[in-house]
């Protein structure tokens, strides 16, 4: 273990001693894979046959016209197998796990998206699989739990702490420190100890590499701004990395504004002023924490952005001002989602809808000659319980109540 994996002051690997050699092994495997062109080719082949890469770019014809400013393009990560960009990272780590000769994978999950992707990868590669998920999230996201279990994964409901994503991460580390010999921890976002932020960003860079070329092919020019939502930061890093060296392209990361600035109920680490630098979950970054360094409860309508920390690489890009950070509130996000569904027939995940909300705010101020690109990191149709609750659909409630009554009746009848 060396002191490395820093992006200005952010990053590092603050890990229990027992994982030191596991991280050395992981880093070695990662570097060897990165330096081996055959590995990336294998990865590309897998992603183009098992998922549908390259995912397309869709122009929002109706909303571009309605909003009357920039032309809006969308990178369609929602079309991936399992419905989100998460699978890019997971399949890459699956190949790496195979390379390291390990036979079991574990992962944390918040909304369940990364859990489903990991369980899928495990089924595909024949690995044993355990997914850690906050008990609150297990209760909220049963459909995802259902599919993980169908894939053969063991889903552990984490009853510690706030029972959400960060606690699931802690619990996954606790598993790992016991089972590191045969187990790889497939962390789901560009956070955690080095080399995860860099490695996850590398796998996700497939998004940006494709998107840059696709925008050039489609419009002849680079987009003026690109938008991505930021939870841990993996989809944002994935898209942004394609445009990092194109100084003329403005990169906009959109965090969960929850109930708004000053409400204390949000997950905006970089866009608002509430976060401070700290070290937790194995890395140094901006965290929503109190003065003692205790992590605080966060809030977002989207489970996938509801997280206390953020990719150290994004904290760095925030400080260097290469990326502009904004936050979208729950209400604006739900409105942006509904608008996108109704006007374009696309169903962005609530996470992704943060990027849409910010883009819709800015597009009208831009000229029709300009193009913007939004990362649609996932689709919302798996989050129907959350979405139906967010918009308080009475018919959905009636349906659930009736369905429950039918189940209770069957239970009674044996």
């Amino acid at each position: 273990m060396k002191n490395q994996g820093y992006y200005s002051q952010f990053g590092g690997a603050y890990i229990p001693e027992i994982l030191a050699s596991t991280f050395d092994e992981l880093e070695t495997a990662y570097i060897e894979a990165r330096d081996d062109p055959a590995f990336w080719q294998e990865y590309l082949d897998l992603m183009s046959t098992y998922s549908c890469r390259a995912t397309p770019i869709t122009r929002l014809d109706n909303l571009s016209e309605q909003l009357g400013g920039a032309s809006i393009y969308v990178k369609r990560e929602d079309l991936n197998h399992t419905g989100a960009h998460k699978v890019n990272n997971v399949m890459g780590q699956g190949l790496l796990t195979k390379r390291m000769g390990k036979t079991r994978v574990i992962a944390e999950t918040g909304a369940g998206q990364h859990g489903v992707a990991t369980a899928t990868m495990a089924a595909k590669f024949g690995f044993d699989c355990t997914i850690y998920m906050g008990a609150h999230d297990v209760a909220r996201q049963r459909p995802n739990v259902f599919w993980m279990e169908q894939m053969g994964a063991t889903v552990v409901a984490v009853t510690e702490g706030s029972q959400t994503l960060k606690d699931a991460i802690n619990e996954a580390f606790r598993d790992w420190v016991t089972n590191m010999d045969d187990t790889h921890y497939a962390l789901g976002t560009a956070c955690g100890p080095h080399p995860f932020p860099e490695m996850v960003s590398w796998f996700q860079s497939i998004i940006g590499t494709e998107a840059r070329q696709q925008m050039l092919d489609r419009t002849g020019v680079l987009p003026h701004r690109v938008y991505a939502c930021v939870g841990g930061g993996s989809n944002a890093m994935g898209l942004f990395s394609g445009f990092m060296d194109d100084k003329e392209v403005e990169l906009v990361g959109v965090e969960a504004g929850g109930r708004g600035r000053g409400s204390g109920e949000h997950a905006a680490r970089l866009a608002y002023d509430d976060a401070t630098i700290g070290v937790a979950q194995g890395y140094k970054t901006y965290f929503l924490q109190d003065r003692d360094g205790q992590m605080q409860d966060t809030h977002s309508v989207s489970a996938g952005l509801d997280y206390v920390g953020v990719s150290p690489i994004l904290s760095h890009l925030h400080e260097t001002k290469r990326v502009r950070f904004e936050a979208a509130t729950d209400d604006d996000v739900v409105a942006a989602m509904q608008r996108t569904v109704r006007c374009e027939g696309l169903i962005p995940a609530l996470e992704s809808s943060h990027a849409f909300a910010q883009a819709y705010l800015e597009a009208p101020q831009m000229s029709p000659e300009e193009n913007i690109l939004i990362n649609m990191s996932g689709r919302a149709d798996k989050d129907i319980f959350t979405v139906a609750d967010a918009i308080a659909d009475p018919k959905w409630r009636d349906f659930i109540i009736q369905k429950a009554a039918a189940y209770q009746m069957e239970n009674l009848n044996g």
Binding site: A13, Y14, E160, F173, T178, K284
Partner: protein, 277 residues
């Protein structure tokens, strides 16, 4: 630094102080001259309350504990198992602050004549300011720190401050730790080396076996410092097993388990049951 040319220390040897022995190391060596195995216990400050923490310390000292880890609660104790995890969470829920932990620690070091160490996660130091934290330790009589998520590679500031203050930064050997890595850790440690008897988090069972004896032998070979053994020590039998193989037995989660199941007053009899000759 340990003189590498010396014949290997055997477990039977009473450990000798290294040239720059910290007061903590010196205490351990002195105590070991009288006792073949020391006992270190662990509590989470503010769990279930700061008053209870104080009472438990008092009981433990009376029961004959030789040194103590005081854990400053943290919201993300990634290296701790369910028992200590819960204690951390409960302490925080009851409103425990770092300042209160300092205040109680100051009282404890004044009142009781054994060394106390802080155990906590790096963010507590980082947010407080590392140098300020170490200075505060000095001021209130804390003799060492265990920071399980701070490997030496990330801990330059901390190590410099600790060494400068002649305090003991304690690091951990695990069954996975390679020989060169043990040397690095040894070089960066003072006071003693904390060896964990198995993989995993705190509070789970360890098999006290020949393997363990071999492992401890290896640890001994790679450090000049006294050896503490933790993770899973919970009975008189475990302690007897360690006698002659290590310098310090650490009882961590099991005390908290006793406290939790049988109340504060049960802690003393439990410790006495471990230490009674």
């Amino acid at each position: 630094m340990a003189d590498q040319s010396k014949p290997r220390a055997t477990p039977q040897d009473a450990p000798r102080a290294t040239p720059q022995a910290t007061p903590l190391e010196q205490y351990i060596r002195d105590k070991r001259a009288q006792k073949d195995l020391l006992l270190m216990t662990h509590i989470v400050l503010g769990y279930p309350s700061f008053d209870d923490s104080r009472r438990v310390v008092e009981d433990m000292v009376e029961a004959g504990v030789d040194l103590m880890e005081l854990q400053i609660p943290f919201s993300e104790p990634m290296a701790d198992g369910p028992v200590i995890l819960k204690a951390n969470a409960e302490a925080l829920k009851a409103g425990a602050t770092v300042e209160q932990s300092f205040e109680l620690a100051e009282k404890l070091t004044a009142e009781f004549d054994i060394p106390f160490l802080f155990m906590t996660y790096y963010n507590i130091l980082f947010c407080h300011g590392v140098e300020k934290f170490v200075k505060r330790c000095t001021d209130i009589g804390i003799q060492g720190c265990i920071v399980p998520d701070l490997p030496p590679s990330e801990g330059a500031e901390y190590l410099d401050a600790m060494h400068a203050a002649n305090l003991s930064p304690v690091h951990i050997f695990t069954p996975n730790t390679t020989a060169p890595r043990m040397q690095t850790l040894d070089q960066n440690s003072a006071g003693f080396i904390y060896t964990v008897a198995r993989k995993g988090v705190t509070g789970k069972d360890t098999e006290f076996s020949t393997d363990l004896a071999d492992y401890l032998q290896t640890c001994r070979e790679h450090t000049r410092l006294p050896l503490a053994v933790g993770f899973g020590v919970k009975s008189r039998g475990d302690i007897d097993f360690l006698r002659g193989k290590a310098d310090i037995a650490v009882v961590g989660s099991e005390t908290i388990r006793v406290l939790e199941n049988e109340g504060v007053s049960a802690v003393k009899p439990f410790i006495e049951s471990l230490t009674a000759a």
